[in-house]
Symmetry: D2
């Protein structure tokens, strides 16, 4: 398998459905970084490095110097939203970034005005927007989105596009017939099938046009057979679901460490307090249930209690999200972990993470946009499992379990990059050094 | 490079200098496990499994079913200590395990009586023992230890021996001429060179006799050129230093996670409270300094601030150990970590680990004894870097930096085991599944 | 107002409806204390002292040496329960105390066998008992309880009785007509009015017989006009409701401190995890609501936001109880408190309390029994507001707000004791010392 | 004892030795409050209320409406410092308040320029200032300070003055002969006795002129017989020592709560991290020792282990202050408290206080200035023990132990205010309500 990666010349358009707290923090951040007044911390594509070759070679280039990525100065931003606030206004409302920072990039942000959104109130009861497309059928809505993309591309002189979903979580839906094939799906679009959600219309429009798509929310969106089929047909890269930030990030760091040491876990209690719109929505038991299911799966995959019943078979895992307005976007988690060691003796770990929701999510938008564009240029179609690193609930090929251990996700991503560039994969074996030493004596 | 691993038949003698809290918790635990009244939690060799082949093969054998290890029923325990308490008495004094558990295995523990120790008060001011060898020179002390080993082997019907150092931390020493070659070292033994510490005499005696050696304390011991040279000559496996437990364990789990995500770290404050003898010794600023140096190095190796100056260049790292008798062996750590994300926005992580010192260390003694015996049977001489996973300050070949990231240590260990058994190394690349899927369409 | 306190000679019978975790921990504890194998920690009547006179007098007698209380050797225990396990069996089931401790007092505990309980499933859906009284009317049930008390008193040679409710929380009920007068209530007993709960039948039976009553659960029980009227008629001491332990105890300690310093509070988030039967019951949203109402009231009374709107007007207070079986009776709370100081600058306090539910409650049972008996002998009828110190939701005379500040509760209790014994009340004014000093110059 | 309190008309000058972080946060705050852009949170004199009469009267006036205090618009600020930065510049350097807030009151702050300080490097090795008085003797320095006060009073049209020490902690000194009488002290001033510290010269100058003095640092200053004698002669109010903020504040809130409930304490470990100049100074073991002694005394006074040996006799109390630059003025404390309850069962409390040093101290400066002025107008000379509420180490008359329980301190302060204004003292007895109820039936 060899890769012929097209170069990254020309302009990349990043189009975002949902210009709220995460998206505006991302866009404002990139503008501030371009001005040299802030750093892209948390972004592997901008600040991460990668080891190449043997340890003794001491080669650790920056990732952006190793693989051909779009440069920040060659990016155009756009998007859709149900509110018509421009990005400056939306960022002020979100209260994530300091007024003085936003002031410094006001003109750039004001210039980005949302296109009319595809919206369906039955998928987001708490939202009421006015900046919404009207059309006779979902098929026509998809066509309107495609027209938006064409126009945006032309007006902004873009050579390539990528879409990253940053919209709200839609209500829970199960895959059905209408999602099973491209043919069924297109018929559903024409018939206004209620089981096709807005995010699926965006996904269809993008993939139909050959534009790759990354999904930052837990909705199905690109994770249905119809879109996967279309992506393979049209040779388009897709990935999802749900940006991995905060408590789940910590969990997928810590749990592999406990498992590595064969320490048992009797209970894991996770509490969250947050006061932004996300917290308000999740205060509703129905909405929380969707999120809960996703959050709970993480530990099972890492500990595999079925094959370690003495260590993890009785693990009690509970996740709670509590709406707590005093904290705003400053999400805070408290975890109590009851572990046991040698002979079953109990120990406890308490983790208190005072984090910031959008600050953790914004660099993931950037990385996913740039890596998805890279995959597209490298001709890697369909599900990009090597991007699991960024997702709470990674999309995988049918029949494969998602990998949640962040360190395995990281190695997979790094070895994919090495593989793409023709470098040796790294196994950390390193026995050869010793062999040579022995022989040299 | 192919391995011809000798089988694990016959009896393995595990000899331990220092029969204190860790060693007695280890021995009592193995006896309880053999009786079926407790589980070897925390021990990879007993409870850990390993993935083999592709994910789709779903092969996860227990490690002990995969590689040929000595069985728990084929082990004999022995050791040396400056006090003449038998293992039952020493375990009662240590107050780690419940009286009822110790009662159930009292005869087995009482039968293990320490041999006279090699002791030098200048290396451990706070210790005063009576069960001590007397001899004209350090060379004669080494010979006495070798005689002890021969006798133990014969009396206990052992086929093989392994030594694991569980004694107290010796005072800080720098490597000198006397440690540079086997010849210099042997002359030093004869001349009673004061720079040869007791633990070095144990190391010399073992390696000279072809017995492999693992070092659980931060002393140099086997980490001097003379012993490395002797180990290669005699084809003996050695490794060290300092069992990785508690706060440092957590640090080498969490720091790789933050680094993986390119999150910056401004400060890391680590406080410990513990009330056992270890805590008392480390309450002395001089003794603490040795430990501090070792503990501080961990983060630098993982974050590599020299190549990530914007993220880790200004990191302020402070470690404190506070003697606090109310907690006894129940060591507790509190860490405050000041991180920063996108555009430099600050966040905080607080970790409170209510752990147990000896409970975390005991399974490491077992794993190191069994894996070291395996390496010896596989003909792997010299420094066993693949056992870095167990050490706070891993011993490596000259010129190589130690690896502290516990997940890289784990992969190195697992891939070494796979390699020894002729299985494919795992790179987590996994692109092939997708390729096949694409082709099958 | 002068007190003629009858002496404490003779035997006191303590009768407890509900012989579960709290009651058995209390009874087992007293037996262990009598044997000299444990200490009555947490009990003011046994270990607390009280300052008398001016500071310079240095008089700090133990409370039990200051006021005439029943001695532990003059107490007989009895009670009712829906299960017929004796107290030893019930204590083993509760898993609060160590087996070895229970073993040492097994005969004493086995001798205490519960009388048949008054039980009504509609007031406690999760309970199903077999050791239950049958009768044609609630009036007859009350008569049967009175007969039980007479029999117990006679068989155990008791001079006085006191009843302390340690049963489960009943479902929420509002006071109604049937609770308004003694006449209505007695008619309701005869008519089997469904609004009369089991705990009210116990309360009626006791107060009717002149036996004082303390209520450790949040049920109304003695907090209805009919029982208050009867208590004043029959000159009986009563008090309630809900033992103050754990998180609420901490809250009524900390909140007065913040209020004392005029520090503002923007939010107070309280999370609890516990795994005993209490936790299971409270995992049900309906049952939790009753508890929540009670727990939430505490802060409002202390901060009085209506008179401090700038400091406490926007306080967001949230309490969560999470069922978490791994912890059993070891209740654990985590509080995040968002405060603000000078010019509104925000600060945070996090409190993690690893407590034990029944261990905190047991000494309250003892103190309430002994102090209630004291009040009765002192002729103090009706609501004993000076015992607010022990309650989460103190019962007060109509028209008065309960006092939640634990330090005001303490002073009230101490000054009441001083007053009863004819000692000066303490105001901590202390200006006189200085005046004397000035004059002496 | 009756009080004739002079009214608060006219202008009050607040003079501060040491215009650093605390003093500038105080002054800037008052200016911002006067402009209506911030609130005096944390100040009892501005935002606190006081209950008067019986509970049923429902009288809770603001303290400032109850006792005659100087109004914020009638205050003039001045002070001395070894640096000649004006208050605006010093506040910017301190980095406690936001630039935008300081900007809004820049002219007022710039107008306050420090007078030349009395300084002696042997009392503060880490400080090097240039804005320093030169004189032949300490007596002349005292005269120069008196001249400063006279000039300030006249130029600012003040009717009264008060001095509040906000300077750095001086090195530890024991009281000696030279501090024993006014006569000795004045001779020492003339002889340049090295045992007279700068803060004592300020104290002498103020008290000599009839200006009351409050001491916010742990230095002796006004806590020597000579100054106490002079204060009584000249009828001047004095008080000290060391503003009670942060961890010690929490300790004197929580410890009385544990003691109230007769819960035992086995250990209390207190760790602090802070990164301001105070932290740097206290990183030196010698300086820390002074602070440690003061901080450790708090618990002993509250728990009185000598009279509660079973509960507090074995308490291990340890306090650590760690310099940690990443946190700046944002001091953070972590406390682990090992308590035990009924039958000795252990429990743990962990408190993590993310506080701000100067924000907690600033309102104490205001309250102490206004209450000290009140005491002076009320003719209350000498040590103001009723202000213990504000101090870590309250100054008391000889032979009396300081009261550390913040709730007793509060009652003392409130009852003193009630007493001054001829209101009934409050004992929280409240039995009368019940008596009336009984009688009315």
């Amino acid at each position: 398998m060899e890769y012929q990666i097209k170069n990254a010349e020309g302009r990349l358009g990043i189009l975002i459905p949902g210009l709220g707290a995460v998206a505006t923090t991302f866009i404002a951040g990139v503008e501030a970084i371009k001005k040299g007044i802030a750093q892209p911390v948390g972004s592997l594509t901008q600040m991460g490095s990668i080891r190449l070759g043997k340890r003794t070679e001491n080669r650790y280039p920056l990732i952006k110097d190793f693989v051909p990525l779009a440069g920040l100065n060659n990016i155009a931003f756009g998007g859709w939203d149900v509110y018509d606030d421009n990005v400056y206004e939306a960022a002020v409302t979100a209260k994530v970034l300091e007024p003085s920072l936003l002031q410094a990039i006001k003109p750039e942000l004001e210039a980005i005005v949302p296109m009319k959104a595809v919206f369906d109130k039955s998928y987001a009861k708490n939202l009421t927007g006015t900046n919404v497309k009207e059309a006779a059928s979902k098929y026509e809505l998809a066509e309107a989105l495609m027209e938006d993309m064409r126009t945006f591309k032309e007006e902004n002189g873009c050579d390539r596009l990528v879409v990253v979903w940053c919209g709200s979580t839609e209500i829970y839906t199960e895959p059905a017939d209408v999602h099973a094939t491209v043919a069924n799906f297109e018929e559903g679009l024409r018939n206004n099938d209620p089981r096709i959600s807005p995010s699926m219309i965006y996904a269809y429009a993008a993939v139909k046009m050959g534009v790759p798509f990354a999904n930052g929310a837990p909705n199905l969106t690109v994770d249905i057979p119809a879109i996967i089929e279309l992506a393979l047909q049209n040779e388009v890269a897709i990935s999802g679901k749900d940006f991995k930030t905060g408590q789940t990030l910590m969990k997928t760091i810590l749990a592999p460490g406990l498992h590595a040491r064969a320490l048992g876990v009797k209970g894991w209690f996770s509490s969250n307090i947050l006061g932004n719109r996300d917290g308000l929505v999740l205060d509703d038991p129905d909405n929380f249930k969707t999120k809960e299911v996703s959050k709970l799966s993480v530990l099972d995959e890492i500990f595999r209690p079925e094959s370690n019943p003495e260590l993890y078979g009785d693990m009690y895992h509970k996740v709670r999200i509590n709406y707590y307005p005093p904290h705003g976007d400053n999400k805070e988690s408290w975890d109590n972990i009851d572990i046991f060691g040698w002979l079953g003796y109990p120990m406890q770990i308490k983790i208190n993470f005072l984090c910031r929701d959008s600050i953790l999510a914004a660099p993931l938008v950037l990385d996913l946009a740039l890596f998805t564009d890279l995959a597209q240029r490298a001709g890697m179609s369909g599900i990009q499992e090597w991007l699991s690193f960024y997702y709470k609930s990674p999309q995988t090929a049918e029949g494969l379990k998602p990998e949640h251990d962040i360190f395995k996700q990281l190695i997979k991503m790094q070895n994919t990059l090495r593989h793409m560039m023709g470098e040796d994969l790294i196994t950390h074996l390193g026995l050869d050094y010793y062999q040579e030493l022995v022989e040299s004596l």
